[in-house]
Structure formats: C-alpha cells, structure tokens
Symmetry: C2
Subunit: 206 residues, 2 copies
C-alpha cells in the first residue's frame, strides 16, 4: 500500500480499534486459480494471531496451502472529499478532489484446522466478542442452540488462524490540510452522511 509518512497510522491502539470495529476483512491469496478473495470476520487473538472460520464448501481452505502467505485487508469508513469544502480554495483555488479512508493490511501465514476442539474455540470467541457488543447482557450463547444442531454447524465449517508477519496501516484523513480546511472537511462530512468518519477525524491529534 502506498504510504506517505503523513498518512502512516502508527498508533497501535488505533490499529486495534479499527480491526475490532471493522472486522470483516477481505482475505486475499494468490492461488493456482489466480487471485482469490473472501470476506471473513476476523478476531484478534493475542498479539500475533487472527482467528476466523469459513464454510467447508468454501474452496479457500483447499486452494490455499497451510503456511501460505495471505493478506487480510481491513477498511474503515471512507468518503469523497470535495475541493469545495476547503475554505483555502477561495484564496488560492489550489485544491483537487480526494478520498479519505483508513485501511489496515495484515500479512501473515494461514493455517486451517478441522478439529472440533479448535472450531468450537474459534466460534466461541467470535460469538462472545460480537454478541457482547451487539446484544449486551442479552448476548446469544452457543449453548442456546441444541447440541446436535451446533455439532452439525461446526461440521460444516473450517477454522483457521493467521500468524501475523506484518501490519501496514494508513489513516488518510486530510492531515496534509491546514486547520481551517481540516475543520471544514469534518463539518462537511457530518452533513454529507459520514458522521463516524468525522468523529474519527475529530479524535485525531494533529
């Protein structure tokens, strides 16, 4: 990923926040069939691992050999930024359109696991994580489903873990604009239906 220094995201807590808040990664790999990508929710599991699962019917676990390098692309909110939004435009007219976004690219080695023990652990961790934030104290639990149904569901998936080799993160958030332009972009994003991106920009210490 092209990464000019002023857009490099070096805050590990922001990288963790983005992976947690936008967990649906595009996992990309080069296979004999060409480039393949699948959209899979991933969960951080310790410092150096991501875990997830795919359908048994998904060829991904057959086409990607264990220990192959894959790229997991996480992307947060994004929006078009109009030159009209920069107050400085009125003076100099030296502005062009751009796009603001945040992206995390995690490269690592994938290992698939067919054991029920591993799959049950992965599904349990994912469920607890997503249910806690979606359903709060009414969180759905695996034990809510009949045991034979859950066994059948587990038989139809494959678990995996990705051992992280490299993390590249980019927060392209108008850091290259002066304060007045920056604040105007934030206000315009709020008006243009991107309040979350505006909030992320407000939180940026620049």
């Amino acid at each position: 990923m092209y990464l000019p220094e002023h857009f490099a995201e070096n805050r590990s807590e922001e990288i963790d926040r983005l992976v947690d808040a936008f967990p649906l990664a595009a996992i990309v790999a080069q296979t004999e069939a060409g480039l393949v990508a699948n959209h899979i929710p991933l969960l951080r599991d310790g410092e150096k691992k991501l875990i997830g699962h795919v359908a048994l019917a998904n060829d991904m676990h057959r086409d990607i050999a264990d220990e192959s390098q894959v790229l997991a692309i996480f992307r947060a909110d994004h929006a078009y930024i109009s030159p009209n939004w920069y107050p400085s435009k009125e003076q100099t007219h030296k502005s062009v359109p751009t796009w603001n976004y945040q992206a995390i690219h995690i490269t690592g080695r994938i290992r698939f696991d067919h054991s029920e023990k591993f799959k049950r652990a992965v599904v349990g961790k994912l469920t607890r994580h997503f249910e806690r934030r979606t359903s709060g104290d009414k969180a759905w639990r695996m034990a809510d489903a009949p045991a034979d149904y859950m066994e059948m569901m587990l038989a139809n998936i494959v678990g995996f873990e990705m051992t992280v080799d490299r993390v590249i993160a980019k927060s392209k958030l108008s850091q290259n604009r002066d304060q007045a332009d920056y604040e105007s972009v934030v206000k315009n994003l709020e008006g243009a239906g991107s309040p979350e991106l505006a909030k992320t920009m407000r939180a940026l210490d620049r």
Copy 2:
C-alpha cells in the same frame, strides 16, 4: 469468492449501482514483492473498462506490469447479524451468528498511461462524476484551479484503465431466512445503525 447460489448477485443494474455507490476499490495484485493492495476510487467507463489514477510516488504502477491481471474488490455496507434477531429462534433455537454484506470482485488487465491527454481525461471524468453527486449544481471543475497548478498535479499522477475479464458479485442479505426472520433483520439493522443496509434489503425482490 465463495458464492452459494442463493447469495449470487446476478442483477447487472445492482452491480453497477454498487460500483458507483462504493467506488473506493481495493486493487490487489501479485508482484515480486508479494501481494500488494491499494485503495483507489474507480469509475466505470463503458461496458468493459474501469478507469482511475494513482500517485506517481505509488510503486503500484512500477511493480505491476502492463496487462497483468489485477483484482478490484468493491464492498458495500456490511453488518453483524445476531441470532437474537430471528423470531424463529424462539421456536427452534436453530440459528447462529452471521455477517451480511455485498461485494463485487472484478478481475481484469491493467494498463498504466503517463500521457497528459489520458490523465486529463480520467481526472475530468472522475471529477464530473463525483462532483455532480456531492456538490450538485455547485460542482467543482478542473478549470476552477490555476492551469499551472493543474499541470503540476497531473504530472504527479499516473492514469490507468482496467479491461474487465470477469465479474463476481455477492449479495449476502439473509436470503436464506424466512420472511419473518428477514423482516426482523431489516428492522434490527435500522436500529443498530445500518439504515443503508436495511434499505438495500428492503429493495430486494425475494
């Protein structure tokens, strides 16, 4: 991309709508340096082409040879779906968490173009497209910027076009649930801050 029949998106007008509405593609390629991905707004240009541009400083146009195959991943809104949201859960408890999303994968051959004529045409088309919908009748035009500034900006980018070979599209939108579950998912998405995804599901003829 794993694509069960009931999630296959075969409506060409929906595919075009998603590419237009979520144009920030992740362009992925296998290079000598490994898998690389860059987030680039793309515009449909006729039936079989996508156009865009990257910074001259972006190694992408050096690392990816002309006519190489690249994968452009477009993704629309997405959200976690809790089993708690299915009314049928109360009867059978046979439900597990999932994720709803729409994704378009376009595979094609890329060709970079350094000529000012090509770059000016690409930037002009992108600007008209995005300004029309963002700024309406106050659309910013390239002619609003000083000519020497625009020449400098054009000198710092590389244009490209992608000739489309294959399009795979997935709309994973709870089509496998009964009507009561489906409607409840839509209502819960509205409440959980995903009104656009709910709207897309409401528009689905199922």
